[in-house]
């Protein structure tokens, strides 16, 4: 009975995680590419974004997005708010991850691509990203696991995920040890497969070295 309720929460946790992960990857990739251009004002904006989101706790960010924006008339549902909040925070982290991945490549890789007549965008798509992918895969895996755990902060804005239900059940039934161990077990059961998946991707991505 508890299990059914918690499982329902787990599904929501996974949705928040997948949503936030997608937002973080898109934002992070975009910011990293902007950061690799020569446009100084744009690069400065990226730095500001990264520093702000990296140095403010996820819970504070969530409160600003959920309660703060509501004050100025932008009322988000808890789940979208959690996805956006965690996604933007993760985007800041992944900006650094992707930037490091791109910078790890020798500049000659890009020059050779331009020399055969690729546009800068084609060079990114066919030459830079496929190589950076291998570099960023392990940190990306770590990030996705910590993100799944971090979705628990969404309970603070009443997103109906695992921790939210767990706390509800505890206040109602006082079965504290049982409920929280089940919760812990669920997180474990969700995180382990992610680790496996990443390890598989690492092996599966064509080896050239």
């Amino acid at each position: 009975m508890f299990a059914a309720v918690l499982l329902g929460g787990a599904v929501v946790s996974v949705w928040i995680m997948l949503g936030a992960f997608s937002v973080a990857v898109v934002v992070g990739l975009f910011m990293a590419l902007v950061a690799s251009t020569r446009n100084r004002p744009l690069r400065f904006l990226v730095t500001c974004y990264v520093e702000v989101f990296r140095n403010v706790p996820a819970l504070t960010q969530l409160f600003i997005i959920y309660f703060g924006l509501a004050q100025i008339g932008l009322r988000l549902q808890p789940i979208p708010a959690a996805i956006i909040g965690l996604g933007l925070g993760g985007g800041a982290l992944l900006t650094e991850v992707f930037r490091a991945g791109i910078e790890a490549l020798h500049h000659g890789q890009r020059e050779a691509a331009l020399a055969v007549g690729m546009t800068p965008l084609m060079a990114v798509r066919h030459i830079i990203l496929p190589q950076a992918w291998r570099i960023v895969l392990p940190p990306l895996g770590n990030y996705s696991m910590s993100l799944l755990k971090e979705t628990s902060v969404a309970s603070a804005i009443a997103a109906p995920e695992i921790m939210f239900y767990a706390r509800q059940l505890v206040t109602r039934t006082f079965e504290t040890p049982l409920i929280y161990s089940m919760t812990a077990f669920l997180y474990l059961a969700m995180c382990l497969p992610i680790g496996r998946l990443v390890a598989r991707l690492e092996r599966g991505s064509r080896s050239w070295q």
Binding site: Q109, E111, A112, A115, T119, Q131
Partner: protein, 278 residues
């Protein structure tokens, strides 16, 4: 050597394999200057490469040879001066009589006609030899994948590496990597190939195989600009040798003259230095 006059309105917009426009040069470098910050690297280079001509560029380290080649295909943007490919303004357009830089897209569509060989090969390590060669024909020139791969096989055969087509660069020797890089440039069907010290990063025993391939290409009548320290090679392959020092052309002429009977003191001391070392 004076610069050819900039071709004006008569030149139509570039289309691939446009006619040679009479006897115009394949590459014309006009009044080229390049600064990096306050460092003046090129100080007024005028040079025209005729169709089928092989021009060797020699000069001391830091004299601006690489920068010159990189300006020809706009990997470096000249500080002043202009480049023409087949008489057509390269990397720039004339708007109301003023030179304006092209968009990256337009530039790419011009650059695809120029092959470039780098000192350190710069093969793409995530692609096999065959894919390294096929990717530009497919993605840039729009060939179907199958045709691009077949073209790659043909080009790899030309550099005597047909059997290595499925190897990743990591598994190839330096000489083999450089030959794949040459095949990659050939697959562009370039109007001119720029070689920047193609053998300088190689172990001595691997230099010969690469020079041999370049000689074969030269014999096909291709247009080339070759930065090299291999004086003997330059003498054998080049139609003209250009000696550059401190960003200016000091002297140029047939190899027999420039290398055997240099008329400038700077050329003489550079050559004797080189012969001592090598």
């Amino acid at each position: 050597m004076s610069a050819t006059s900039p071709p004006g309105a008569a030149a139509p917009r570039a289309t691939p394999a446009v006619s040679r426009q009479g006897d115009a040069a394949v590459v014309t470098i006009e009044d080229l200057y390049k600064n990096f910050g306050s460092l003046e690297v090129l100080k007024g280079i005028d040079l025209a490469i005729a169709w089928g001509e092989k021009v060797a560029i020699i000069g001391p380290s830091g004299s601006g040879k690489s920068t010159l080649l990189r300006c020809v295909n706009y990997l470096e943007v000249p500080t002043r001066g202009h480049i023409y490919l087949e008489g057509e303004l390269f990397g720039e357009r004339l708007v109301d009589g003023r030179h304006v830089r092209m968009s990256e897209r337009e530039l790419a569509s011009q650059r695809k006609h120029i092959g470039m060989i780098f000192q350190s090969f710069y093969l793409w390590p995530h692609l096999t030899a065959r894919e390294n060669v096929a990717i530009a024909p497919e993605k840039v020139f729009g060939l179907p994948r199958k045709a691009a791969l077949e073209l790659a096989d043909t080009m790899l055969a030309k550099v005597h590496l047909a059997e290595k087509r499925d190897a990743f660069p990591e598994r190839l020797s330096g000489g083999q990597q450089q030959r794949v890089a040459i095949a990659r440039a050939l697959a562009q069907e370039p109007k001119v190939i720029l070689f920047d010290e193609p053998t300088s990063a190689l172990d001595p025993e691997l230099v010969g195989e690469v020079l041999k391939v370049i000689e074969e290409l030269a014999a096909e009548g291709r247009s080339m600009m070759l930065v090299t320290h291999e004086i003997r090679f330059a003498q054998n392959v080049a139609d003209r040798v250009v000696f550059i020092d401190h960003g200016v052309i000091v002297e140029q002429g047939p190899p027999a003259e420039v290398i055997r009977r240099p008329s400038h003191e700077r050329t003489r001391s550079f050559l004797s230095q080189l012969l001592q070392d090598g």
